[in-house]
């Protein structure tokens, strides 16, 4: 009898918990869902039945054809892709090298250098924009993807170095000592032994570096606002500013920006969380 009561109590408690979680999941996803389903409707469908799925009568791809015809969407997408991928590769390589040196070698000023490199975690790089713009103009890099990559590498390094340093402290000493006894050089220890070992943390760092870069509006707006060098975020912002009353085009352009990120996120979300919960971030 008693166990039955407890059972029932457990069941109702579980029901409440799932009701709360489902409600919030709906709050988080419904606005995104709404935009995507309406992107596949005719103008009439968008306004007459905004909350229903596209059906035979309302289905239309006119928004997408308009976006692809009127904007350089593929180019913006390619720009964002280039900037993000190149930045991630550079950040991961430079940050893991620096993190390795900081965690492995005893040298004068080690702690101070680690602190210096950590300043950028808390101080937003945007505050230096006036000088960054001067610098980029002097280097003749205005309206180039290189300008964005340089700034984003600087922006991504501090957190990447911090997370990777914490992670490298956990690498067992025996592994390194064994390699050293075999007479393996310091460079080779890093590239052949250490880099493969830190792969889980690298995934987390990659996601943390990627998201703010892909989504940034500020630096594209300041450093590369034209000449076909717009990133997808800036391109969408400019496109929507221009076609604000064309609902098909607006909804389709938003969906085109949302869908790739959602797919990437669903692929990488497990690694992101695993990196977080394995103590890489404290």
């Amino acid at each position: 009898m008693m166990t039955k009561n407890i059972r029932r109590e457990d069941m109702s408690r579980a029901a409440i918990v799932h009701a709360i979680l489902l409600t919030y999941t709906l709050v988080a996803l419904y606005p995104i869902f709404l935009v995507i389903i309406n992107a596949f409707k005719s103008r009439k469908g968008i306004f007459s039945a905004p909350m229903s799925l596209p059906n035979a009568e309302t289905f239309s791809l006119e928004g997408f054809t308009k976006v692809l015809a009127r904007s350089n969407f593929e180019l913006f997408f390619f720009n964002s892709f280039t900037v993000t991928v190149v930045t991630i590769v550079i950040v991961l390589l430079l940050a893991s090298m620096a993190a390795w040196a900081l965690s492995e070698y005893k040298f004068p000023g080690n702690t101070w250098l680690a602190l210096y490199l950590a300043v950028g975690i808390m101080v937003p790089i945007r505050l230096g924009s006036v000088s960054i713009l001067n610098l980029i103009v002097e280097l003749g890099l205005i309206n180039t993807l290189t300008a964005l990559i340089l700034v984003y590498v600087a922006q991504g390094l501090p957190l990447a170095i911090f997370i990777l340093t914490e992670f490298m402290h956990q690498i067992p000493k025996d592994l390194k000592e064994a390699a050293r006894c075999d007479g393996v050089g310091e460079f080779k220890i890093f590239f052949a032994v250490i880099l493969p070992l830190i792969r889980p943390a690298v995934a987390t760092v990659a996601v943390f570096t990627m998201i703010p870069i892909w989504n940034d509006l500020w630096f594209p707006l300041i450093l590369a606002p034209g000449d076909g060098k717009q990133t997808i975020t800036l391109g969408i912002q400019q496109f929507i500013g221009q076609y604000v009353t064309d609902w098909n085009a607006v909804l389709a352009s938003l969906s085109l920006a949302i869908i790739p990120i959602l797919i990437l996120y669903l692929i990488f979300s497990r690694q992101l969380i695993r990196g977080l919960t394995s103590g890489a971030v404290k």
């Binding site: 390094l157 501090p158 989504n215 609902w247």
Partner: protein, 312 residues
């Protein structure tokens, strides 16, 4: 975290150590630290159009904080930014903590699915999020009214983003909707790190899961809560994209959604008839730097030090 310090003597590997550290340090110094310092230097100069740069001491600061027009604009954006931050602290972080607490309950089914779905808005661009909500809240489309109608709250609907009294609060809630994922993720990770036996012991003694959360888990993750708060502070006082995407650089109506980031942009680049001024822009950036620094120092010295005592 307790770990042994660096072990290997660098004198055995001078070249590798230098080669490992130099690239990152150089790029970081050149494109982050130098611009930040140079920006502060520029705030003490003036650049008349076509003329030479001239040192003017604290004149730019006197303009922004002393000139009636400038100081009204500055303090308006500062207090708007404080309200923006307050909404995040009072709504975003409690919701994030509560959801993280629920997600970390033992034997919860579909835990990973919920977590993945709830963090999704955080992954989107702020610009995209701004536009999504602009559409949903648009009286022209009317889908916002339809949604409220389901709950019988149709009469509450108004052009929230367009009214001076409600635009800032509405934008704050849009931002909260997007960023709940951050406290959710970080606090969830911290909750998972709590040893099971601590919780089990309390449950055996007859405590409910809610009591365990309130009296055992929450105090243990307070350092993470403090870290989330300072991240929120820095992020909020550096925000720009959402207001710019939804309201433009003028942060209307009548500057009611103007925050530090939009003020910085307008001062630096100009808008409509007013020309941009790099020196005054650098001054606004330096003031933002001071505000963020004050927040970070408060966190480091007042909050973190006090909380460290409760750590395991």
């Amino acid at each position: 975290m307790a770990h042994s310090g660096p072990m290997t003597d660098w004198r055995k590997a001078k070249l590798p150590v230098f080669a490992f550290l130099a690239p990152a340090t150089i790029i970081y110094t050149l494109f982050m630290i130098y611009p930040l310092i140079d920006s502060i230097r520029l705030s003490f100069y003036t650049t008349p159009s076509g003329g030479e740069m001239a040192f003017v001491g604290f004149d730019n600061y006197r303009t922004i904080l002393g000139d009636p027009d400038w100081s009204a604009t500055f303090w308006n954006s500062f207090w708007n930014n404080m309200k923006f931050f307050a909404v995040h602290m009072l709504v975003q972080n409690p919701i994030g903590i509560a959801l993280a607490g629920i997600l970390s309950l033992p034997q919860l089914r579909f835990r990973n699915t919920y977590r993945t779905m709830m963090i999704m808005p955080t992954m989107l661009s702020v610009v995209i999020v701004g536009f999504i909500w602009q559409l949903i809240l648009s009286p022209v489309w009317g889908v916002g009214v339809d949604i409220l109608d389901i709950f019988g709250l149709k009469s509450l609907f108004g052009p929230w983003l367009g009214k001076e009294g409600s635009a800032l609060i509405t934008l704050s809630f849009i931002s909260v909707w997007q960023w709940v994922g951050i406290p959710l993720m970080l606090i969830y990770a911290a909750l998972l790190a709590i040893p099971d036996d601590l919780v089990d012991a309390a449950i055996v003694d007859g405590a409910t899961h809610f009591e365990v959360f309130l009296h055992i888990k929450l105090p243990l993750v307070l350092p993470t809560v403090a870290m989330v708060s300072i991240l929120t502070f820095v992020g909020n006082f550096n925000a720009f994209d959402l207001i710019y995407a939804v309201k433009g650089a003028l942060a209307g109506p009548n500057f009611s959604t103007d925050i530090m980031g939009t003020l910085f942009y307008r001062t630096f680049f100009g808008y409509q008839l007013q020309l941009g001024d790099p020196s005054l822009g650098a001054t606004v950036a330096s003031l933002m730097f001071l505000i963020i620094l004050a927040g970070v120092l408060f966190y480091l010295f007042a909050v973190q030090r006090r909380l460290a005592r409760y750590q395991l």
